[in-house]
Symmetry: C2
């Protein structure tokens, strides 16, 4: 169990062993062994990454406005959304852009950013209406270069200036079958702590674009100018100062990069000698599949292929495992994934360090001790 | 100029300074400085990668058969193809899966494979009919998991068993607007040495799928079983023996991985001290853009951002340049590209070595000397 601020009345129904990074806003990640238990993460273990306090919007009062570059601006109630459009279910993994930031912090400090370890990633079965169907009902314009912005009422004190949360994705992605306006998570009404009554789910994209408590959708001819699109959630060059960079500088995060991690056993574990099954996840870039996962017990000198557990959807992580006999002493485990085009990951977090600590997709490494 | 077998009567109109790797079949790459001259590679400098002797098919005798999972099998003459379908032009970079193999050879030998250096990549303006339009005319079936196979008459003596060349791509890619049955290259009739009268051009995919002298298109429910799809052009794990692997083992190459290279100056050059402009290319995975290119003169300890020259198509490489003052002594230059999702390349060819030497997309490195 890692250290963290615990406050029982603000745990939002999460498991007792969750690592709580901040309580207001609520930011929390599960311990790796809990994530390793299965493809679908239970709601009480699903990571929480937030920039503001949770809005409290009863479904009966929730409304969604669709406006901008559409023929017919719409306002939909929860009943209209959930009864007027076909329902679709997608198993999708969401991951925070800062997942695995702790490894970047060991390269060089990143002031003011949470030291997410292995757990700012989780998988759920989401159910809702296709965003494409709602946009089509509004007569969305079809032109190259359009973007779809999502606005929500949660206020982010950290933004410059203070503002409510927003983000955008390209129209092409917004019109894809996997992008949902979701009101169910793992078969139950979407909890307030995960964006209920209705959130956006953008499978394959960095979690920040899956806007919770969404109330407004705007079709625009440029990306959102919200702080979290135009200034934050960007890969800046190492020498940039995040306090002074101009709007639009750096690489805006969108599709998740090819990545993997080792979930069990984990850093610092003491395990008995003998046979152990090492478990982890791998995920390829937007819509690609995993071709191979290699695991090394000698720092990457030689590799063994892990067994891949076929995901239930192309938008879900691929869990993998490999069983190995381990002898007493220190044990280093390294893992790397290859996508189904033959691309693999960068070796070292040192080469990926960036001023906001996003997008660490270096080889996964854990150090443990065999008794 | 690198060493190579020269035979004037089998140079197929290529520049005198091309590096000829084999004459029959004809395999040849331009020197890097020629590639650096512009976005479009002149035909006389365009790399040539072949597995058999060139078929000699006059346009008037060429025919294309479209069969398999289609409602109406078709046979089209050159006139029917070029007058019966809309013409489309795409600027696209083709790259051999073995480009930059020379760096892998320095890690560990790869017997029987050509030591391609920096030049097994080139860019042309291709003109032809969309494959999608031809498939639609044949009433192609639309189902998940279908593949489109291309067959050609050039016989590959290296295949097991000896067979003519073939390959396939997923139907989704085959139906994309950028995939052509091309009969023009840089505004002129497609030369015999580049697949004339008609070849497939699959932008964003490894060059081996852009089948030259194509005469047959088959819609199938599985990938081609041709040697070059089922056995070769796969990333095998390091310990695999390419002589004994089973059909379908390894990761089949499709979309090109994120990659870059330094073209001028190049390995072993002696250059005077003072200001120099370093030039190279970068290319992102299938349809993505380049977000940033970093260049280092201290082995990757510090980086400078290169200037990006906007490509004329999303299927063309992005040329980049950076001007630097260099002092006398040995000079090492390293480059790496980031795509527009924030993904970058693996650092070292050592971690990418594979038994057939494909897909080297490690950081680009050249060593030269400043006088």
């Amino acid at each position: 169990m890692k250290s963290g601020i615990k406050s029982l009345n603000t745990r939002w129904g999460k498991r007792d062993d969750m690592i709580v990074r901040t309580t207001a806003p609520f930011n929390s990640e599960p311990v790796p062994s809990v994530l390793a238990a299965g493809e679908i993460t239970p709601v009480d273990a699903f990571y929480a990454r937030n920039h503001g306090l949770f809005p409290d919007i009863p479904a009966a009062q929730w409304q969604l406005t669709v406006r901008g570059m559409v023929d017919t601006p719409l306002t939909l109630t929860f009943d209209q959304l959930s009864s007027g459009f076909d329902h679709h279910t997608v198993v999708a993994t969401l991951a925070c852009a800062g997942n695995r930031r702790a490894e970047l912090l060991r390269v060089r400090p990143i002031p003011g950013k949470e030291p997410w370890e292995h757990g700012a990633i989780s998988t759920a079965e989401w159910c809702g209406a296709r965003l494409a169907d709602v946009l089509s009902a509004a007569g969305v314009h079809h032109r190259d270069g359009l973007h779809v912005e999502f606005l929500a009422p949660d206020v982010a004190e950290e933004a410059r200036p203070v503002q409510s949360y927003g983000s955008s994705i390209p129209l092409d992605k917004a019109m894809s079958a996997e992008v949902l306006l979701a009101w169910q998570m793992n078969g139950k009404p979407l909890p307030r702590a995960h964006g209920g009554p209705v959130r956006v789910v953008v499978p394959g994209y960095v979690g920040t674009r899956s806007v919770k408590w969404v109330t407004t959708v705007v079709v625009r001819d440029s990306p959102s100018r919200n702080y979290f699109q135009a200034l934050d959630y960007r890969i800046l060059p190492p020498e940039a100062d995040p306090e002074t960079v101009a709007e639009g500088e750096g690489i805006s995060l969108s599709a998740l990069p090819l990545n993997c991690d080792i979930l069990a056993p984990t850093d610092g574990d003491h395990i008995p000698a003998g046979a152990h099954t090492i478990r982890g996840w791998a995920m390829a870039g937007d819509g690609l599949g995993i071709g191979r996962v290699d695991v090394s017990f000698d720092g990457g000198h030689t590799w063994r292929q892990a067994e891949l557990h076929p995901p239930s959807s192309k938008w879900a992580w691929t869990l993998w495992s490999v069983t190995v006999d381990v002898a007493p002493g220190p044990l280093s485990i390294t893992a790397r994934a290859w996508d189904d085009t033959g691309m693999t990951q960068p070796e070292s977090p040192a080469s990926l360090w960036n001023p906001r600590g996003y997008g660490n997709n270096a080889y996964a490494r854990v150090q443990l001790h065999v008794k």
